[in-house]
């Protein structure tokens, strides 16, 4: 079982916080990886918030392939952060030779393009890079998006942090949101693309559980959007559905839960919004999920969200103070990073509940 977590704060914080949140939850587990998505960056990247940031790991040949592609497609590099960690021997990390965290300027003819066009360009570029790198197994591209940085690696999270110098709070790498996971999935092959969190066009998501409707979801999602690819993990289904409901269908957020875990027909029958709920359930029956799950998502507008499966078969807790709130599979993580919070205010969402934290740290809760 994975452990997942997320921190949201009014003031930028350092990724080591995310490690402190996760490590206590690692008890008895295999420490097989570390992955995080940072959004709303401060520190080194603060000046380039509107410039798409490419996060990838690759071989030397892969790096060249990426450079060539970006150049050929008129992306101009404007800033790069090279992690200068301690590459000491004995670290448990399956490191790749190159890690690229690089801001680009949009191609000339996209400077005045609208939001939708830019979003499409960024996604298509990432998909193209993925394809190029995949060919001879030359690397992995995680995100290409303004103000979003993704880091994923296989190994012991402590050592990965050492390798990337994440223990040193030097102010280089800071963000107001981090979604994090400290364990590779256990059900599938250990591959970097199968590690949560997953990212697509501003939507980040990680999940803890097993989606037993994976095959149904996958078969349906494949034809819904060209960005719904990979499917290395059954948790990608959650991200793609989130993206589909909010970004493609443009439905309000509360309907996401109605899509993934619809109410039983008997209950729908007694609801005032019966017509809508029935229509949603029947049209998107192939996006319903089953099995034990908790998800944490981060949206383009900076809202953070968590909810569970319809039987609440996986735990999650939300807690914090006026400046920082965190979501975690287990409360022990919260106790480490936010020991002085008012624990009586911790929220344990139930199977019908959705909890959203806004950038102002307002907590919204509602029942499906």
């Amino acid at each position: 079982m994975c452990r997942i977590g997320a921190i949201k704060s009014k003031v930028p914080f350092h990724p080591s916080e995310a490690l402190y949140l996760m490590l206590p939850q690692q008890e008895g587990h295999d420490n097989s990886g570390f992955a995080m998505v940072m959004q709303d960056l401060a520190g080194l990247f603060a000046k380039y918030k509107d410039k798409p940031l490419l996060s990838l790991a690759c071989t030397q040949k892969g790096a060249k392939l990426v450079e060539d592609y970006m150049e050929a497609h008129n992306f101009r590099p404007i800033f790069e952060w090279i992690p200068r960690g301690k590459r000491q021997p004995g670290l448990d990390i399956k490191a790749l030779p190159y890690y690229i965290f690089r801001n680009y300027d949009y191609p000339e003819h996209y400077r005045n393009a609208g939001q939708a066009e830019r979003e499409a360009l960024l996604m298509d570029t990432r998909l193209a890079l993925r394809k190029i790198l995949e060919k001879d197994d030359q690397g992995y591209v995680y995100s290409f998006w303004p103000d979003v940085l993704t880091l994923k690696e296989i190994g012991d999270p402590r050592d990965i942090a050492t390798y990337f110098n994440l223990w040193e709070k030097n102010g280089d790498l800071m963000a107001k949101n981090i979604v994090v996971q400290c364990r590779q999935n256990t059900n599938y092959d250990i591959v970097r693309y199968a590690a949560h969190p997953f990212f697509l066009q501003g939507y980040t998501l990680c999940a803890n559980g097993e989606n037993t409707f994976y095959t149904k979801n996958k078969e349906f999602q494949k034809s819904l959007h060209r960005g719904y690819v990979g499917f290395e993990s059954d948790s990608q289904n959650f991200l793609y559905t989130l993206h589909y409901v909010l970004h493609e269908l443009k439905w309000p957020i509360k309907y996401y839960k109605h899509v993934i875990t619809p109410l039983p027909f008997e209950e729908i029958e007694h609801r005032p919004d019966k017509a809508q709920l029935t229509a949603i359930r029947q049209s998107l029956s192939h996006l319903e999920i089953n099995g034990p799950n908790t998800i944490i998502a981060l949206l383009p507008n900076g809202n953070m969200m968590t909810c569970c499966d319809s039987k609440k078969l996986r735990p999650v807790v939300v807690g914090g103070d006026d400046t920082t709130l965190a979501i975690s599979s287990e409360v022990c993580g919260l106790n480490v990073i936010l020991p002085n919070r008012d624990k009586s205010k911790d929220i344990y969402p139930n199977e019908r509940e959705v909890v959203v934290i806004t950038p102002e740290l307002e907590v919204q809760r509602w029942k499906q």
């Binding site: 097993e210 409707f213 078969e219 349906f220 229509a279 949603i280 049209s283 192939h286 319903e288 089953n290």
Partner: protein, 543 residues
């Protein structure tokens, strides 16, 4: 000695031979009285007997004329193996035996094709029994509890729009509907399939209809029953119970004048309309109700005189799928003012995927279900050549249709319903569940229901005499004396009890794979030890 004429048809040329034990027989005559086919008679036979009457043994041989039960010669009175004589005999003196050296297929074709009812006798192989539910929730995800958890066991009947076409308007936090969507009824994933009054006796039809109403009203299991071609009693059409019925229109359009006349007085809408294009048991063969079965009440319901009633193999004027769609659109949808979903039933065929694609792409989006009927389905009357030698297996065909929809991202838009031999071994829940995992939204069952009413026919040539008007169980005949053999209440009760068991069995299959709603298209839950089946259906091969 008589000269043997080898062309004479004698009982040992026929499919069934009667075994009779004169020593056990008390000459009650029940078997002869009960045999509706006139296959046996009482005759006197000369027997040589050794008799001893005195105090001391004093055996003498005598010739006596003794009454015995004897099977008749000739194909016209052939025993069909129904076993009713055996059922009634108090002394177990008589029973039919399958004649492994039968010449039945040769001696029964006297100038015209063999006609019979029932089902195919040649294609009874079972793909579904080679498949098991092999993806059981263990460590990674918990099984559910079939007794404790709630399960949503419902399937759509009606056209489902893609989400992008739902007439929704968003104010940022709520969606509201700004237009109409096609009607969709969520019903039990097992439909009691279309068997007409005419093919069935009124009593048998009544038993199915009683069971349907009882399951809905008392057990809240929303089972729907299809009327079959030929309409239904006006009283029922004008009652509340119409909502449990799917009205069928087939190529003969029998009964529709009465349905249309009853419309203004209908209190509720029917559950749906099913347009029958073809039937899996006898694709391309049209409907057939022999005059022998066109009793007075059948004439009344259908509005016809006593005569052979043939439904043409096609709807008149129907020359393309597009036209059938139009036909549905214009007549059926409009008839009920677009409140009642309209579905279509076709015999499974090598062309099913094309038909399904056409329906999926129909711009009016009015087809509310695609019913595929396989070769193992049943019928009241058909030419044996159609029953045994035409048709298509339903399992892979339904799967092909589902995958065709998957390819286009249209799965679920026109619900897939499969039938034709499902439940033929008595295990309808397992059959339904596997079909659902392969992509069906639900299944329809017919033969199983009449078997629950007492039908003794099977896939090995037993009985299958539904076309003769002599159904020995009173199910498939209009002869009032035979119909009395059927206890309506008991038959309905059998159907109810079977359905309750089926419902629990479905839960028992959903719980271990950890699903609380139907796993439509969850092919990953299935495995097979047959490599060919695995390849064809795209499921995991195991050994």
């Amino acid at each position: 000695m008589e000269t043997v004429k080898t062309q004479d048809v004698t009982f040992n040329d026929l499919n069934w031979k009667i075994e009779y034990d004169a020593d056990r027989c008390t000459m009650c005559g029940s078997c002869v009285a009960v045999c509706t086919f006139g296959a046996i008679e009482v005759v006197a036979e000369r027997r040589s007997k050794t008799v001893s009457k005195g105090h001391q043994p004093d055996p003498t041989q005598q010739h006596q004329a003794v009454p015995v039960i004897k099977q008749k010669n000739g194909a016209a009175n052939a025993c069909v193996g129904c076993g009713i004589c055996e059922k009634i005999c108090p002394n177990r003196a008589i029973h039919p035996v399958r004649n492994t050296d039968s010449r039945g297929t040769l001696v029964s074709r006297s100038g015209s094709p063999i006609k019979r009812g029932g089902r195919t006798n040649l294609n009874a192989d079972r793909t579904l029994d080679k498949i098991v539910v092999g993806r059981i929730s263990q460590m990674t995800d918990p099984s559910l509890d079939s007794e404790r958890h709630t399960f949503d066991i419902l399937a759509p009947f009606g056209r489902v729009l893609p989400a992008t076409e739902l007439p929704f308007q968003s104010d940022g936090s709520e969606l509201s509907l700004t237009g109409k969507t096609p009607p969709v009824n969520w019903i039990y994933p097992v439909i009691f399939s279309d068997m007409s009054i005419g093919a069935l006796s009124t009593r048998a039809w009544e038993a199915v209809s009683l069971a349907t109403a009882y399951l809905n009203e008392k057990h809240h299991i929303p089972v729907r029953m299809s009327s079959g071609e030929g309409g239904m009693p006006v009283k029922l059409m004008e009652s509340e119970y119409l909502k449990y019925t799917i009205l069928q229109i087939a190529s003969g359009h029998f009964g529709w004048n009465r349905i249309i006349k009853a419309m203004p007085r209908m209190k509720v809408d029917p559950a749906g309309i099913l347009i029958k294009i073809g039937q899996g048991a006898k694709p391309g063969d049209g409907g057939l109700l022999p005059a022998a079965k066109v009793a007075e009440h059948v004439q009344a319901i259908r509005g016809v005189p006593k005569a052979d009633l043939m439904s043409p193999p096609n709807h008149q004027g129907l020359y393309s799928i597009e036209e059938s769609v139009q036909k549905m659109f214009l007549s059926m949808n409009a008839a009920f003012k677009f409140r009642v979903p309209v579905a279509i039933k076709c015999a499974a065929s090598a062309t099913s995927v094309s038909v399904y694609n056409n329906l999926l792409r129909d711009p009016y989006k009015i087809c509310g279900g695609f019913f595929i009927d396989g070769i193992q389905g049943g019928t009241g009357a058909a030419n044996e050549v159609s029953l045994d030698h035409t048709g298509h297996h339903v399992v892979s065909k339904m799967r092909d249709c589902y995958l065709a929809a998957v390819k286009q991202g249209r799965q679920g838009q026109i619900p897939l319903w499969a039938g034709g031999g499902l439940g033929m071994t008595g295990n309808a829940a397992a059959d339904a569940f596997k079909m659902i995992c392969l992509g069906a939204n639900g299944v329809f069952i017919g033969k199983l229901l009449i078997q629950l009413c007492g039908c003794v026919g099977n896939e090995h040539g037993r009985c299958n005499s539904c076309s003769t008007g002599k159904c020995p169980t009173g199910i498939c005949t209009q002869d009032p004396r035979l119909v009395k053999r059927l206890d309506v209440d008991k038959a309905a009760q059998n159907i109810v009890e079977y359905t309750l068991a089926l419902d629990s069995e479905l839960r028992k299959l959903m719980a271990p794979i950890g699903n609380s709603s139907l796993p439509v298209g969850r092919s990953d839950a299935l495995v097979t030890t047959d490599n060919a089946v695995a390849n064809k259906l795209g499921i995991q091969y195991v050994c």
